[in-house]
């Protein structure tokens, strides 16, 4: 309830909740929040029982695509996506890590072809005991979760 006071409730739209505080700005970046023209509320460093400091993003009248949800899953598999209507949560989605992702993450290997020529990136997701790694389709090197850099 405390969060509802800290960050204004929305009538209809999406609440991305349980984001680990350190992942907030990456998520803001991948879903392109600066391009959204409806009301957006962002709270950071909120107390969370589950994961230390958490962040929350509320977006009026916008619903993320499957692609956006996959992107969020890569950055923060603990995030929960709530669909809101008439101030109520009508659907609660735990994000699921996809098997592959394309185009939006940079390969960490400076000697990779994707960093030398116009080639869009492709990765296979490896999930070892909750630790996510992105294996490049081209150079076969692994980009770890903490090294994920978003291509805009």
């Amino acid at each position: 309830m405390k969060n509802e006071l800290t960050v204004k409730a929305i009538k209809k739209g999406t609440v991305i909740d349980h984001i680990q505080a350190k992942n907030l700005f990456k998520i803001i970046s991948i879903i392109g929040i600066e391009k959204i023209d409806t009301e957006v509320f962002i709270g950071n460093n909120l107390e969370s029982k589950k994961h230390g400091k958490k962040a929350i993003i509320k977006i009026e009248n916008r619903f993320p695509s499957m692609d956006d949800i996959n992107k969020i899953a890569i950055i923060d598999p603990h995030a929960v996506i709530n669909t809101i209507d008439e101030y109520k949560v009508i659907e609660k989605k735990h994000v699921k890590i996809p098997d592959t992702i394309n185009t939006f993450v940079k390969c960490i290997n400076p000697k990779c072809i994707t960093n030398h020529e116009k080639v869009s990136t492709k990765f296979k997701i490896q999930n070892k005991d909750g630790k996510i790694g992105l294996k490049c389709n081209y150079c076969e090197k692994i980009t770890g979760q903490d090294n994920i850099e978003i291509i805009r």
Binding site: E117, C136, Y138, C139
Partner: protein, 302 residues
């Protein structure tokens, strides 16, 4: 395998390995089969590698095919700034198969996505060099009669050596015991050891060459490169610890063979060369038969 590019050793199954090795055997017995008459193979070496290029070009010529290409990127359209994509899209109109070596990692996979004709990766930076791995398998099977249950020693730079990583992965299909001999700073990376643990394959790690080689079936030696050491003193300290000398071989198995991907610098003493256990020059020869087999299968001629 027909029309399928060979980019990474992981593209092929155990059954594919055997198909290639069996055909390589056949070519070794009867090397002059003109299967590639009326075929043109492009040999695109964006960085020089004389040994690999000569091996491929010999393989093409033994099969009666023709070779076009370049042995380094200077004086070509590449040095004028042409993209890899454009080079491949042009050359794939001329040739039936492209063999390429390129310093950028993943370049061969990318080329295979844009090319109409199959690509064989002859080395993409420190990533993959699958024909080296297949010729190593061929050499091991030829000298030991089998790939199963062997005791393998991998010596030298195990951290950066793509050859040993590919060989280790491929041989893991055949229930080996691995022995890793390297300076502490150039040990087999943890991810590969995790892979062996997952597959339940035994391995030992040693800091130097000693009596433990007496039960080896294969000793695979690689070069410890000076560039890998940030501290030159460290290199000076370790460089002589990994030199295989003839008198170290006295108590090794009579069937043991020494392999090396070449070029060698000083890690195998030249006094080993006359020992019947030295196999590295035959190994290089085997590369020609193995590459003949790979090209014939990819072009659907066998």
């Amino acid at each position: 395998m027909k029309n399928k590019s060979l980019i990474s050793i992981n593209d092929y199954t155990k059954e594919d390995y055997f198909k290639i090795l069996d055909l390589a055997d056949d070519f070794q017995k009867n090397p002059n089969q003109k299967l590639l008459e009326n075929h043109i193979v492009a040999s695109l070496f964006f960085e020089p590698s004389t040994r690999t290029r000569l091996s491929f070009e010999t393989a093409v010529q033994r099969l009666g095919g023709k070779v076009i290409g370049f042995s380094e990127a200077s004086n070509t359209s590449v040095s004028k700034g042409e993209s890899l994509k454009d080079t491949i899209l042009t050359v794939n109109k001329y040739a039936d198969l492209i063999v390429m070596r390129h310093p950028i990692e993943g370049s061969a996979r990318f080329a295979s996505e844009v090319s109409d004709v199959p690509i064989i990766n002859a080395g993409d930076g420190s990533n993959q060099h699958p024909t080296q791995c297949l010729l190593d398998l061929y050499s091991i099977r030829k000298t030991q009669g089998t790939l199963e249950n062997l005791n393998l020693f991998l010596v030298g730079d195990l951290k950066y050596g793509r050859t040993v990583h590919s060989l280790m992965t491929a041989m893991s299909e055949f229930n080996p015991v691995f022995n890793f001999v390297s300076p502490p700073s150039l040990r087999m990376p943890q991810e590969y050891k995790d892979y062996l643990d997952e597959k339940g394959i035994k391995y030992h790690e040693y800091d130097d060459l000693n009596d433990n080689i007496n039960n080896a079936d294969i000793i695979y030696v690689t070069r410890v490169q000076r560039e890998r050491f940030s501290d030159p003193m460290e290199y000076e300290k370790v460089k002589n610890a990994y030199i295989l000398k003839n008198d170290m071989l006295d108590n090794t198995k009579p069937t043991m063979r020494i392999m090396h991907p070449l070029p060698r610098v000083n890690e195998i003493d030249t006094d080993v060369d006359a020992n019947p256990k030295a196999y590295y020059f035959e190994q290089a020869e085997n590369g020609v038969y193995t590459r003949m087999a790979i090209m014939a299968l990819i072009l659907g001629l066998k």
